[in-house]
Symmetry: C3
Subunit: 348 residues, 3 copies
Amino acid sequence: MFLYNAWYVAAWATEIGTKPLARTLLEEPVVFYRQSDGQVVVALEDRCCHRGMPLSRGEVFGNNIRCEYHGMVFDRSGNCVEIPGQPLVPKSARVRSFPVAERDGLIWMGDASLSDPAAIPSYPWHARWPHKCKTERLDCNYLLLSDNLLDQTHAAYVHKSTLASNVDAYERAEMKISPTEDGVKFIRWMLNCQPPGIYAKAVKFAGRVDRWGEFEYVAPSCILQFTGARNVGEGAYEKDDRDGGFGLRIFYGITPETEHTSWFMWSVANGHRQNEPQATEELFTEIEHAFKEDEDVLVAQYATLRKLGDRPLINIASDGARIHARLALERKIAQERGIPREEVITLA
Amino acid sequence: MFLYNAWYVAAWATEIGTKPLARTLLEEPVVFYRQSDGQVVVALEDRCCHRGMPLSRGEVFGNNIRCEYHGMVFDRSGNCVEIPGQPLVPKSARVRSFPVAERDGLIWMGDASLSDPAAIPSYPWHARWPHKCKTERLDCNYLLLSDNLLDQTHAAYVHKSTLASNVDAYERAEMKISPTEDGVKFIRWMLNCQPPGIYAKAVKFAGRVDRWGEFEYVAPSCILQFTGARNVGEGAYEKDDRDGGFGLRIFYGITPETEHTSWFMWSVANGHRQNEPQATEELFTEIEHAFKEDEDVLVAQYATLRKLGDRPLINIASDGARIHARLALERKIAQERGIPREEVITLA
Amino acid sequence: MFLYNAWYVAAWATEIGTKPLARTLLEEPVVFYRQSDGQVVVALEDRCCHRGMPLSRGEVFGNNIRCEYHGMVFDRSGNCVEIPGQPLVPKSARVRSFPVAERDGLIWMGDASLSDPAAIPSYPWHARWPHKCKTERLDCNYLLLSDNLLDQTHAAYVHKSTLASNVDAYERAEMKISPTEDGVKFIRWMLNCQPPGIYAKAVKFAGRVDRWGEFEYVAPSCILQFTGARNVGEGAYEKDDRDGGFGLRIFYGITPETEHTSWFMWSVANGHRQNEPQATEELFTEIEHAFKEDEDVLVAQYATLRKLGDRPLINIASDGARIHARLALERKIAQERGIPREEVITLA
């Protein structure tokens, strides 16, 4: 069960131009394009109402898109405005259109007319910090991606060589979890620990560091991360002074393509050596490498869950944030469907 | 729902020799071979009745075929005539055989004993004009292929660079549609238009041409096309004098492999420069290229129809011939099954 | 329907070390590893009870295995013995474990607690004769493999160039079939026949030979073969003196991976020129080549059976041993399930 009346990240703004882009979201094939002014982004059902041809194979003419097969033309509202060889266009000649909003370098898509752009999470960091973004498609249910991010204890095992500190630091970590109306926030402090490889490469530390990972999950589609470390004694923890040292912010748009596949759209924004493009590039490469480690895990996990999904699983202590996130999503789906939360099934 | 009691094109005559050929038609795996005299073509169920082995992996001996696995031998009627190591052959040792007819360079297969060879469409042009043929397997329902051919307005968009005239010529085209008992015929005249690239390459025209496309669909399996152009004023349209200029005939055998895949068997016969083999070869290459354009479209269309096949489609003005063709097929299926035509589902 | 309360060959002993091995048996994903002493082999459900991660991607530490994802540790009984960051481990934190026995160079796996190691067939020949083994995965139901081995008349057709004698020798062969409680035994004598290519390559014969093939099927998982030939007149048949000449023994472990795929684990042990490693190597290569011929047949057969499995098949004279084998298996399944044998479906 998906939440439908909500905003999902559909693409990076840079992915959409006047060449149509086909992208399936929540099992719905959608064609995206920019009108020829380069401004307005259009999202239509990717299926011509005549013979079912994907409109994404067609061409954008001015503000409209022409089907490749028999040349029918549709405007941004999904109405057909031209049928070659036929003077009148019936009202039934239309395809579905979807609400779209472009914000902070992201294209968001809403499903229903109720979608209120005010509900889109704001993310000012793309404008403020140098950053680089990526879109990946993964063979797993989308919730495994947020599960992964919301339980950072995995870093000690999955990211041994990249993101991990000494294992005991993870176990001694201080976690503060705060459920929110739309999801959950948490901050995890690892005090007096070794800086992980990726940090030490980026910034020269004096020795041990105080390290934080701050995450906010906003159901159903995004996670905001602020991670960093300063030398022990510089007040990151004691005075919440987290400027300086090493810092990075990651935006995650996690959108179901189908029940079994996901779009994973992320950017990393760089808080150190911001006038050195190379620093951002290196950070991106490190993060990309770590995410590849996660992706291998998630695809293997999902293959097993699909085969043996009816067997019970258990929760452990580190699942706190993950469970709050799922509850928030389930509450929203229950509300949308008018059913009790207990009847919501988010992952079969 | 397929029509069963009918003749379908199974293969080109040149495809079948004494080496067995496996080909699935209408979801039925069939093995074809020629008896050792090189004359009689045999079509049997491609499954030994002993352990289910495909007979197409066996060997032809004289008039019969021997299973690769335990050596049982079957004759052209499907009766087992030898079981190694066993003196008697029980009557139950048999596989299904299918009626086959070889005509005009084509192998036709009927399904039931009612199949009457007199119902096979005659096609004299393979004997009269130089031609070249091809068999292709496509990932789409077979009806999308006849749909495509029966609505030639697609040429203006799909075949922009190959077959298309100026777009307005398509919109001004004169269409004469004649439903027949077995399908539909139509002729489309585009008068005073530019010769498309493929025509102009083959023949030197004085300038604008009168261009015709004549199609006959014979349910369920074939389409006969006669297409050409002459210089304006030479009487092609006014006097129905269509010799000279540029002309080609295409035979199409369109046979379901499964519900979701098709055999597309076509030949192009060349009406110009008939004593130049190179002219036929060039024409074939051009047509093959244009069909590749169609095939890309049909596979994309079918993938979308499979995903979203329950959403309504609309008909437009150019769908006339296509709709008559479907009606003819549906009438035949309804009659075969003894159900109302409205209950026939040809494409889910 | 599988027989569950039984021993199946899971792997060759040499395949399992301290690096975990993932192998699905009877639709159940299992992880195998050796404890760090190199002795005890452990078989656990390949799915962490926390988030479903395959344990086979984890690491063996001492006697236990640690999940790659969040670091939970399981012992050989399947009990979780450590959850990182959580002092207590609940009893529910466990995965299934399976009985394992290592015998004669083979790893056997039982399914239920009732599995009695005394029921494992003994195979002393790995200790006595030089041999070489292989594990293959095939796209067919596992019963097609035993079917194949239990009807040796296929050799005349499938193994024309490798194992076959003159065809009439197969037809004149003397078969003695003896049903057993657990399956069936048979011995096939081909007297006064040409030695097949593989025999003649290995040993120099005077001329014609008396050739035997002795097979024992032990339901559900293994077949023991002793095959050979001696010069006519040396008493192989008359005095049951089968030492000398050419001889080989093959052990087959045939275990379902899924309903549609199989593990085929076989060894060939060499009875001639036993002090020449090259002789064993050559024999292995010949047998491997012949099995490749079988595998091509079985995969093609199974593809057809899956498509047309509801059509009736017939039995022929050479099916005797195969039928006894199936009956023995069906009796065991019927007993395990408490249903009549007639209701057992071993191959859909």
